[in-house]
Point group: C2
């Protein structure tokens, strides 16, 4: 059975990790889609620029979303934990129809927002149907287990990745960004090897995964989204590897999703664009 | 059933693609293993430095293999097609117990050796049991379908890779080298998408795949060998992709092999080091 389309009835809101650099996209497809999901001219979008150290980040996104027809856009100038106690911000989040988390440093984001009502509100509002998008660091922090470090250009290896608790909008995936451009497959595979029950979600720049309430994601953008499913590996050397040693991981499943492709996080099956019929007549991939 | 060990009776000789930069390996494990397979103190190794433009490449490998105890080492100073007609070289190859193809430019290699008796002799001698090793460009040219170009750091995409005919010691794989270090998964996936019957073989620097006569390969070195099996993909967009467009490839199998791991090219199953028993009790990966 093919996944539902993005138009279907909503329960929790969309979760939209973006791989960074999305502003380079012609016609800003990703931002436009987010604005539409947030209500278009009736949208009340709240931007959280905390990951960034730049004062211009908040205003920049206000301009971007306004230009795309968002009815209302504001940002929360949160740069320290005490800022999170501002009751004004609480009201703004209560009224938000869309929440956007900018890029920067994901540890700054988790260290400042973690355990505050702002983080709680983001979870609540998303559970109530509000779409939450985040780019780069803002994408990483969405997952329960957040990638915080690890070199690119390296094979999977002991010590190749570091994790920290994210805000946990989604706990079935580990999200990585700038994925192909920074050659991060090795660190995502390492993260997947820790506990193969989690799906690795590697998002390229200028690309986003729109994760619907039905846990089916759809790809929008010029790059790819790489799904790493380690749940059926027959061998992993992670528990026995020496410091820095390259890992062996046998029996991985990989789906490379270009624009329009969908992936069902429940069944771990990828679907080509607009191709329910073909797929529904095929066996599940690799089974 | 687990694969045979490298010690088993020989039919054709080992085919040994190396990912480049192997001389950085402590104790030169890969070169030592090649010298042993070639007969050790009774070895008569012929080096083909044609891919390189450097005069020192031949003498350098003479020194390397001599220092590792090879009884005899010579190189063929072939830098143009007419050199290939030298009957002296024919005799040298007839007596060789090991053949080593250096790095450099694989198109230079195929353009100079292609269709000459030197290329034919390499095939013949390997069929008779002589191990043939090649590093970097020397590894690429071993496969029937040789990767000649394509940017790293890019997702799989239309036009992301260029192929040319190699010398064809092996026709079931497409070999790529400097694999993780130059982020070449995208171009190897693109190559695999052309015809999913071929297995993508991505070899890291300082790493080699020792492909035995039984078509079981074993990994030696400090990096990994990535096996891309596209034979069970449920969707590929390659035939419909616009110029430069990122590809969708659904249902790929990936095995990341660290040192000591083996992979059976016939069954497309990976095996952990020294672990026939465990594996033989498991279902085939992903089936």
């Amino acid at each position: 059975m093919g996944p539902n389309s993005l138009a279907d009835e909503r329960d929790r809101g969309f979760i939209i990790p973006i791989g960074g650099g999305e502003d380079r996209l012609k016609e800003m497809q990703i931002h436009r889609r987010f604005v539409e999901l947030s209500g278009g001219e009736n949208a009340d979008i709240v931007v959280i620029p905390t990951a960034s150290m730049l004062d211009k980040t908040g205003p920049d996104y206000n301009r971007i979303f306004s230009n795309l027809g968002a009815g209302k856009v504001e940002f929360l100038p949160i740069s320290r934990r005490s800022d999170c106690e501002n009751p004004e911000y609480s009201k703004m989040l209560d009224n938000a129809t869309g929440i956007f988390i900018t890029g920067g440093n994901q540890l700054r984001l988790s260290a400042i927002l973690g355990g505050t009502f702002v983080a709680t509100k983001i979870m609540q509002r998303n559970a109530e149907g509000v779409p939450v998008a985040g780019t780069s660091a803002g994408a990483s922090i969405m997952s329960e287990h957040m990638v915080t470090g690890g070199q690119g250009n390296e094979p999977p290896a002991e010590g190749a990745v570091t994790l920290a608790p994210g805000i946990g909008l989604i706990n079935t995936v580990i999200i990585d960004q700038h994925f192909t451009q920074r050659n991060r497959l090795g660190r995502l595979l390492t993260a997947s090897s820790f506990n193969p029950s989690l799906i690795g979600l590697g998002i390229d720049e200028d690309t986003a995964a729109f994760i619907g309430p039905d846990n089916v994601l759809e790809v929008v953008g010029s790059g790819t989204v790489t799904m790493v499913d380690a749940s059926r590996i027959t061998h992993s050397s992670i528990w026995a590897a020496k410091p820095g040693e390259a890992l062996s991981l046998l029996g991985l499943r990989l789906d490379i999703l270009g624009e329009g492709c969908r992936y069902d996080l429940n069944t771990r099956i990828g679907f080509p664009p607009e191709d329910h019929l073909l797929v529904s007549t095929l066996p599940a991939p690799l089974s």
